[in-house]
Point group: C2
Chain length 350, copies 2
C-alpha cells in the first residue's frame, strides 16, 4: 500500500505508508540530536520519558480552546469508562508551556490548537514528533471544531471531505527558505465513511459531508460584513458565498488546511468534524444563546466518541454491556463495577 506524501520541491513523491507502523518523521536531523525540546508543549525527549508517558496513545483529538479540550477529556473519560486512581484528577500536561493545553485519558490525547493555521501548524509539528518519540503506532488524529456553514443550519455536523485554500485548491502552501512549497491537504476517505456511518437516525441534527474552506482571516477573509474593515457590499458578499456553495464548500474555518496537509504528509490518518455555528448565507454574527451553542459543540465530540468507543470495543479494550449501557475499560465498567459482575449488578440496580 502506498500513498503520496510531500517533498521539498513541491512535487508529490510516492513512498511507503505504514498503516500499523510507528510514526516516521520526514526529517533525518531529529535522530542526530542529543535531545528534542518540544518547546510549545513543555516536553522534551530527554527531560521526559515520552514512551512511558504517551506510548499507549491511539487517538489525538484537537480543538480550538483549552476549555473545549478539557471538556472533551472529561466527556471521553465518561464515555469509555476510564477510571482515574482514587484521589486524582486530570491535569493539563502542557500547563507550563502557556501555549496549548493537553489532557490524556488512557489512549486518548485531547489538545487545544488555538486559532489559525500557524497555531495548529506549530502544534502538529510537535505532536507528530511526540508520537514518533513515544513510539505510538498508527495514531488517528481528529480535529473537533466550530465553523461557519454555507447553506447548512447552525447545529449541523460537518465532516470534511477535503480542505481547500481561498483559491479553492486542496493545497497547503508554505514558504520554505524563500520558496513556495505546496502540500496536498488530504483527509482519510475510509475514516470519513466510518464516521459518517456513526450518525444515528435519531440524532436531532443532520450530519453532512463536503469541502471545507480554510482562511487566514475571520472577517474580510470569510466575507463578513462586521469586521473593523469592510470595503465590499452585502450583494458582493452573497455572490461570493453562493459561488462557494456551487463549488461544494459546506463550511469555512481556519485550521483544516494545515491539519489535513501535515497529518497527510506524516502518514497519519485524520478527519475533521466541525459543527456549524450559523448559516453564513443568513448572517455573520452569532446570536444563538450560549447554552444552545454549548449543546451544538458537543455534537462533533459525540461522533468522535462513538468512533473511539467502537474502535476500543473491536480491539477488546472495552466491552459493551447492553443491560446497563455502560462500557467497561481496564476491568471496570463505567459504574465502577468489576467486569463480568457488571451485567448482574447493574440489572439489580435498575
Amino acid at each position: 500500500m502506498s500513498k503520496y506524501i510531500t517533498s521539498s520541491n513541491g512535487q508529490q513523491d510516492e513512498t511507503d505508508y505504514f498503516p500499523e507502523g510507528f510514526v516516521q518523521l520526514q526529517n533525518p536531523n531529529i535522530e542526530l540530536m542529543d535531545q528534542d525540546i518540544l518547546y510549545h508543549l513543555g516536553l522534551g525527549s530527554e527531560s521526559h520519558d515520552l514512551i512511558e508517558m504517551f506510548g499507549d496513545v491511539k487517538f489525538v483529538c484537537m480543538g480550538g480552546t483549552p476549555k473545549r479540550v478539557e471538556q472533551f477529556a472529561n466527556y471521553i473519560m465518561e464515555e469509555i469508562g476510564h477510571k482515574l486512581p482514587t484521589g486524582t484528577t486530570l491535569q493539563d500536561i502542557s500547563r507550563y508551556s502557556y501555549r496549548y493545553s493537553m489532557y490524556k485519558v488512557g489512549p486518548v490525547l485531547s489538545i487545544s490548537h488555538g486559532m489559525g493555521i500557524p497555531s495548529v501548524g506549530i502544534l502538529l509539528n510537535e505532536v507528530v514528533k511526540l508520537m514518533h518519540h513515544a513510539r505510538v503506532q498508527d495514531p488517528i488524529f481528529f480535529r473537533i471544531g466550530t465553523s461557519g456553514g454555507i447553506g447548512v443550519e447552525g447545529g449541523t455536523v460537518i465532516l470534511s471531505e477535503e480542505a481547500v485554500n481561498d483559491e479553492l485548491e486542496p493545497c497547503y502552501e508554505l514558504s520554505v527558505l524563500g520558496k513556495k512549497v505546496r502540500r496536498p491537504a488530504k483527509l482519510d476517505k475510509k475514516l470519513l465513511r466510518e464516521l459518517k456511518s456513526l450518525h444515528h437516525k435519531e440524532d436531532p441534527y443532520e450530519t453532512v459531508t463536503g469541502k471545507t474552506m480554510c482562511t487566514l482571516d475571520f472577517y474580510e477573509g470569510q466575507g463578513r460584513l462586521d469586521g473593523a474593515f469592510c470595503h465590499f457590499t452585502e450583494a458582493e458578499k452573497m455572490d461570493y458565498l453562493q459561488s462557494l456553495k456551487k463549488e461544494g464548500i459546506v463550511n469555512i474555518e481556519m485550521e483544516s488546511l494545515a491539519f489535513a496537509a501535515l497529518t497527510h504528509a506524516a502518514g497519519i490518518r485524520s478527519a475533521i468534524v466541525c459543527v456549524s455555528l450559523l448559516d453564513r448565507l443568513k448572517g455573520d454574527q452569532i446570536h444563538t444563546p450560549k447554552e444552545v451553542l454549548d449543546e451544538w459543540q458537543m455534537r462533533p465530540q459525540q461522533l468522535v466518541a462513538r468512533y473511539i468507543k467502537r474502535y476500543l470495543q473491536m480491539k477488546g479494550r472495552i466491552s459493551f454491556d447492553k443491560t446497563c449501557g455502560a462500557f467497561t475499560c481496564g476491568g471496570l465498567c463505567s459504574n465502577g463495577i468489576e467486569s463480568g459482575m457488571c451485567k448482574e449488578i447493574c440489572q439489580k440496580a435498575g
Copy 2:
C-alpha cells in the same frame, strides 16, 4: 497630516489621519447594526457599557500568552502605582470567551493574542471595534513579544522598523472575496524613536532596531532543522538566514505583519517590541534555562512601561517622586501614601 491606508482594490488610498481623534472604522456597516457582538472577546456593544468600561484606555499592550499578559498587567500596575480598591484583584475580562485573556489597569489594556497572523488578526478586528465603541481617543498599541534573532544574541531587545512577509515585502496580503488585497505593514516611526530613546545605558542588554520578518510557520517557514518535516540541509538554511541578515532582518516572529498592517489601516499608532530568545545563526532549539528566559521576557515589558510612565507623567496623570522612586497615580503613590505626603513619609521610612 495624512497617511496611506488600505483599500479593497489593493491600491493605497490617501486619507485623513486623526492623531487625537476617535478610532474610525473602515466599515460603514457597524453603525447600522443594532448591536455588535465582539464574539472572541466575550463582549458586546449592547450587553456591555463599553464607554464606561473602556473609555479611559490609552494603551493596548498585546502579548502571545495569557500568562505573559497577566504578568504585564500586574507589572504595569506596580510601575504606574495604580491601586485597586481594597479587597479586589485583577480579573480576566474575556474569561468567558475562552479565546483571549484581557486585563485592564487604569489606562492600560493587556491582552493575549495567541500565536500567528490569524489569531492576532481576529483580535485586532475586535479590539479596534472595541476602541471605536468605547470612544477611546488616539490609543497606542504595542506588541510585546518573543522572536528568533538573526545575528543578535538571546536577550537582546528588538524594536521593529517595519514588518515584512516571507518575500521580504512590507505588505500583509489577504484574500477578500477571492481577490488578493495587500496592505502596507507600517509602524509609527516617531513612536519607534521615542522607545529607542528609553533604552538606558546601564541596561544589561542591547536594544536594536531593524526589520522583522513574519512567517506563517515556525519550523520549515523559519528555516528550522528541527521540525517534523525538513527537506533542506544545514548549509542551505545558513545561506538563507545570512541572506535575511543582509536584507536588514534582525528577527523573525509570527504576528508582526497583521499587527502592523491592521493598526496602520485603522489609523492607530503602534510599535513592536520583542526580545530575541536565541540567535538563529547559532541554532534552532531554545536551551536557555526557564529562569533566564523569564528575565529576558521582562525586558520588552520594561521598555514599554517606561514609555507609558513617561506619557502619563507628561500628561500629569502620575508624578514621579525622586526621593522614594515611586510614581503617584490617582492621588496615591505606589507605596499607597497620599500624593504630597509621599516625599516626607517615604524619606522617614527610608
